[in-house]
Symmetry: C2
Subunit: 216 residues, 2 copies
Amino acid sequence: MKIQILKNIIDENDVIAKKINEKLNEFNIFCMNFMSSPGAGKTEIITQLIEKYYNKKRIGVIEGDVSTTIDAEKLAKHKIPVIQINTDIFGGGCHLSASLIEQALEKFDLSKLDILIIENIGNLICPGEYNLGEHKKIVVISLTEGVEKPLKYPLLFRRADAVLINKVDLEPYLDTKAKDVIKNIRTINSKVQIFSLSAKTGEGIDNFIDWINNEI
Amino acid sequence: MKIQILKNIIDENDVIAKKINEKLNEFNIFCMNFMSSPGAGKTEIITQLIEKYYNKKRIGVIEGDVSTTIDAEKLAKHKIPVIQINTDIFGGGCHLSASLIEQALEKFDLSKLDILIIENIGNLICPGEYNLGEHKKIVVISLTEGVEKPLKYPLLFRRADAVLINKVDLEPYLDTKAKDVIKNIRTINSKVQIFSLSAKTGEGIDNFIDWINNEI
């Protein structure tokens, strides 16, 4: 009975996600859905993208958080359009849904965007179940989270188009090595694109940007 | 309507949690529910507790994961009773519920336990909603997750009895400082016990153990 309810919600979500995807295509907007554990560095990576694309591509961000506008404020400093979704006013939701994205989209002037970035709620489980109409699902994992996360939370890694291994600048101080994380990602998803990078130092960001440009 | 369904589930969960708590008290077992983001270091901290309590207290662990038995196998090496709950067989659940704990409890010989540790699913949102009959809720945050997590995921921090700031051995290599994390925890929960520690080096574990002994 509970599974039935969940299935209906996800079916309904997919209908709205399809509409969103059509709208984005109509306006020629490339959309990425960033997902990760809390604190893996999504906002810092998005900040790097905004800086690298400055004067090249017009970026908008939908910022998902349970509470606060901390990340949206950080990003809005770069003078780009940012819409904050706080899920606590919807009962503390642990993921973004297509209907929330549909509402947020109405607040953008879509004719003025080339790239739409969705920063999902920090959660390695629930966001994986909900398509948001995006073109690519980007999963961020921090090297500090250990090597086993892809095995223990397989759904997100299975559905990812690209996995970013962030905070590789800390590798000398950790037992966790990027090559072991890569091996476990490959166990779950043999075809996914993997980029090792550091949003702090900027190392590896250009490789990810080359991939985005190619996908656009 | 959806909120109504959720409310009923949580009410029903609380009824079972109360029964679990009574059973634990009957057998004089002290129970802690460990919650955190994925990769914050719950398993490593629990391993430290098992080693420190060796020959002093009899510990059992209920290990919650979406998938795999990796953590349970690590803990079982210490020759303590460990029961694994994999929530993917219940539809990929993002938290443990009291009914899952009730089922797991049946597999232990409760007369042979002093401490029961529940390692919840790695998720900083949903586990906060579900009481499991535990005596204390322990939230683990890794210093690598940044300073803002308590503000952005307030529910868990508000309900915590103790917060453990793990991986403080990495502080020299991070912009994040433990004192700033503590400040943000205090904003959400002025009374909670806070321990800075490193499961890797063992630093600070004894202070947490002193607190546990006092609470028992």
